[in-house]
Amino acid sequence: MSVEMTTEKIDRVVVRFAGDSGDGMQLTGDRFTSISAALGNDLATFPDYPAEIRAPAGTLAGVSAFQVHISDHEISTHGDAPNVLVAMNPAGLKANIDVMEPGTMVIVNADSFEERDLTKAGYAANPLNDGSLSAFSVFEVPMTSITTEVCKEAGVKPRDAERSKNFFALGLVSWLFIRPTEPTITWIAERFGAKPQVAEANTRAFRAGYDFGETAELFHQRYEVTAAPFASGEYVNITGNTATSWGLIAASQQAGLPLFLGSYPITPASDILHELSKRKEFGVRTFQAEDEIAGVGAAIGAAFGGSLAVTTTSGPGMDLKAEAIGLAVSMELPLVIIDVQRAGPSTGLPTKVEQADLLSSLYGRHGESPVPVLAPKTPGECFAAAIEACRIALTYRTPVILLTDAYLANGTEPWLVPAVEDLPKIDIDFATEPNGTSPAGEPTFFPYLRNQETNARPWAVPGTPGLEHRLGGLEKADGRGTVSYDGENHELMTNLRAKKVAGIKSIYGDTFVDDATGDATIAVLGWGSTYGAINAGVQRIREAGRKAAQIHVESLNPLPEKLGDILRGYTTVLIPELNQGQFIKLIREKYLIDAQGLNKMKGVPFQAAEIEAFILQHLGENQ
C-alpha cells in the first residue's frame, strides 16, 4: 500500500446519516447502532424523519436522517453536532451542513450531485466544487455507481441495485470505525432471506463499501471507539416506545390482570399499538378503535370489567380524550393514558419533539379533575415509568397520564434487561363482600367508601354477586355512591378526589438531585426527555471547574414532597423546557421561586452546548 494507514483511538463520535426518505437512512443508522452496541459502546440515537411518508424525492422536505452518538464512556444525549456527516444526496448535505463544526468529516455520494439533484435541493452551484465546503474534510465517494457495478455481476438490474447504496455507506462507515462485518452480513441474510437477490445486492454493496475504505486510498485514518464501562449484565438497544410497551405487559403480568389497549393510530405513538398487537400470548387485547374517543372509551369499559386498561395517543388525541378522562376521574377507575408528545398546536410538527402537553395534562379538562402525571427521562426508563403508571392507576383507582415524547419514543439507548423476579409486585384487591348496610338494613356495596390510607375506592368487577352497583359521570354521594346533587357533598367529593391524587406515593416521590460537590449555588431543573441534554450541559460546566447541580422531576403530579425545600437551597434555579415555559409556571406558583426559563420550540431536543451557555449566562463570576 502506498499510503500509510493509521488508527486513532477516540473516546466518542457522532455520526449522522442523511438522505432521501426512500434511501433507507433509518435502517442504516439502526444497523450501525446495533453493531456498536454489540461492541459495548454506550450510545444514544436520534431518528429525524419527515411527516410525509414519501416527500418529493431529492428535496429538503424529504430529508430523513439518523444520528447516533457512540462512546467509550457514559453519555446521555445523541450529541450536539455530528463529527461525521454521511450525505446521500445534495438535500441531505444542505439540510445538515449548517450544524457541522469546521474540521469535521463530510462523506457524500458523489454520484448524486448532478444538476437535477442540485436544483431539487436548491443549490445554485455545486457545493463540491464552489469552495463552500472548504472548512470540512470532504470525501466524494461514487456510491451509486460502485454499488450498481458490483451488483451487476450478481445479475441485479441497475434500478434495483441502486437501492442498496445505503449498505455501501454502512460498509464504508463500518470500515472507518473498525466495526466487524459479520454481524451485518448475518443480519442481511436473515432480514432479506425471502428475497435472495435483494440479500445478495445488499451484501455486495456492504462489502464494496467496506473494501472501498480499505483500498481507495482516499482515507488515511481509521478510528476506534472502545467499549464503555457498563454495569455487568445483558443489554438490548431499546426505543422509548418499545420500553413503554414492555412496561405495560410487565405491569399486566405483575398485577395478574389482562392488558387492554384501546387506541387510534397516530404518530409518534402508533408503535406502541404495533408492539402490543404482536404480544397476544400475554393475553394482550389491542383494539384499534374508530377514533381517539372510542380508544379511551373502550379502555374505560375494559377497566370496569377488571382489565389493566390503557389508551395511547399523541397531543391531538389528548384533546379528544379529555372528556372521557374526566369520566374516569369521576368514576375513579384505573386507566393509563400515554401521550407521546409532539409539537403542536393542531397537527403541528407530527414527527417532532415538544414538551408542550404538560399544562393540558394537568389542567386540560373541565371541572376540578386531578390526574397524576408521570414523565420518564430516557428511552429505557419508559419501562419502569409505564409499570409505575399502571401501579398508581390500579392502587389508587385513577386515570394516570404518562407523558413521553417523540424524542424518547424513537430514540434508543442500551437498556439493562431486568430480572423478572426483581420487577415490582402489584397487588390487586378486588372487592368481594358488601361493605355497608342499605337503608332497609340489608348488607350492600358502597362503591365510594374509601380506603383510609390511600383514599382509593373499592373496585368491584361485574360477575361479583351482591356488589352490583352503578357508576357514572354524575356526582356521587360520598360512600354510598348514588347520584347526589347536594352542594355540600360535591365540595367534599371534589376535595376527596384532589386529596387522593395529592397523597399518591410513588417511586418518583424523592427528588433526583445531582450536586456532585454539594455546594453548587445554581441548579438546573428539568422534567422528561431534557434529562440527557441537561446532564451533558452540567457535565461541561463541571469539566470547566465550575459548579452546577442537576435536579430532575419525573412525577409532575404530585410533585416530589421535598422539591420546594431542595430548590430553595439554590440561589438560582434554571428551567430548560421544549415549550414556552410550562413547568416553570408550576414551580413559580407552587414554591414562589423566581426560576429562569430557557425555551426551545424548534422540534429538536436541546443540545448540551445550549444548556451550557444558559448556565454560564446565569453563573456569576465567583460561583
Binding site: A231, E234, A299, G301, P462, G466, R470
Partner: protein, 340 residues
Amino acid sequence: MTVTAVPITTRKDWSTDQEVRWCPGCGDYSILAALQSLLPDLGVRRENTVFVSGIGCASRFPYYMNTYGLHTIHGRAPAIATGLATSRPDLDVWVICGDGDALSIGGNHLIHALRRNVNVNILMFNNQIYGLTKGQYSPTSEPGKITKSTPFGSLDHPFNPVSLAIGAEASFVARTHDMDRAHMQETFRRAHEHHGASFVEVYQNCNVFNDGIFSTITAKENRASMLIPLTDGEQIRFGENREFGVTQLGDGQLKVVEVASVDEQSILIHDSHVDNPALAFALSHLATGVTMPTPIGVFRDVVRPEYGDQMNAQLSDAQAKRGAGDLATLFRTLPSWEIE
C-alpha cells in the same frame, strides 16, 4: 368450579331503590317495566348483566336496574360497551341510548359497534326530540320541525335508524314501540338471543316535548292499519282483516297493496335470516314517516362472527402456538449483548 342454577328472580330483584326521575307519563317507564319483567325469564344473573348508557333521558336507565351499570358520556356508550364486552365475554351487556345520543354525537361509535358485530344489545329509544336539553330537534325529527332551536323549521333530513343500522352491516336490526309491552319483550328477547350486535329502535313517546308523535301508528285504534308486523315465515300483511300486504315490484321496490287486488302468492313472506340485506333495507324504507304504514318487528337477524369471540380466539391461538407469554423471553426479542 361448581355451576349453580340461575336463581329465580322477579321484576323486583332487577329494580333498584332509586326513585325513577323521568317525567310522569314518559314512554321510558313502560320500556323499563318491559325489560325489568323480561329479565327474570332470560335465565341470566344480575351480577353478570351490565347496562351501559350515554347521556340523555334514556341514559338514566342503568340507575334503575339492579345490575352492574355505567352512565357515561354523551354518545360514547357503544365504544365503552365494546371494551367491556370484548374483554369480558362472560357478561351480558346492554347499551341504552336515545336518538340524539346514538345518532348525533355518537353516530360514529354506533356504526362501528354494529359493523364489528360486538356482542351487545343496543336499545335506542327514539322520541325524535332532545328531551334532557328541553326540546331541540334531533337527527330523527321530521323535516320542518319547529323547536326552540329551529323556530323557522328544521332543515335537516332525518335518519331512518333501521336503514342506518342495516347499512352499517348490523347482523340484528329490529323495531318496536313503547305502547306494546308484549311486542317489546319479544323483540328484546330475540335481541338478547342474538350473538353479536343487536340494534333495536324503540319508538318512545316524549310526552313533554314531542307528545303523541307516534300515535298515528302506535295508538291502539291505529295499530292494525298502520303497523306492519314482521313475522318470520308469514306473509307481510296488516289491516283489521289482514287485507293489505307488501309485494315486490319488477324493479325490486316494495309496495303496499290491497291483497284482493293482486295475486295472493305475490305477497312477500318475511325472512329475517336471509344474508342479503336488500329486502330488509327496502322494508325499512317502506314508510318515510309516521303518516305511513310502518313495519315493526325483526328486520334482520343473521349469523356473523362476533368480534370479541374472534379477538379472544386470537389470544388463545397465540398462547397455544407460543405458550403463555414469558417476560424473560419478551425482553430478548431484540438482539441482546452481554457485558461481563
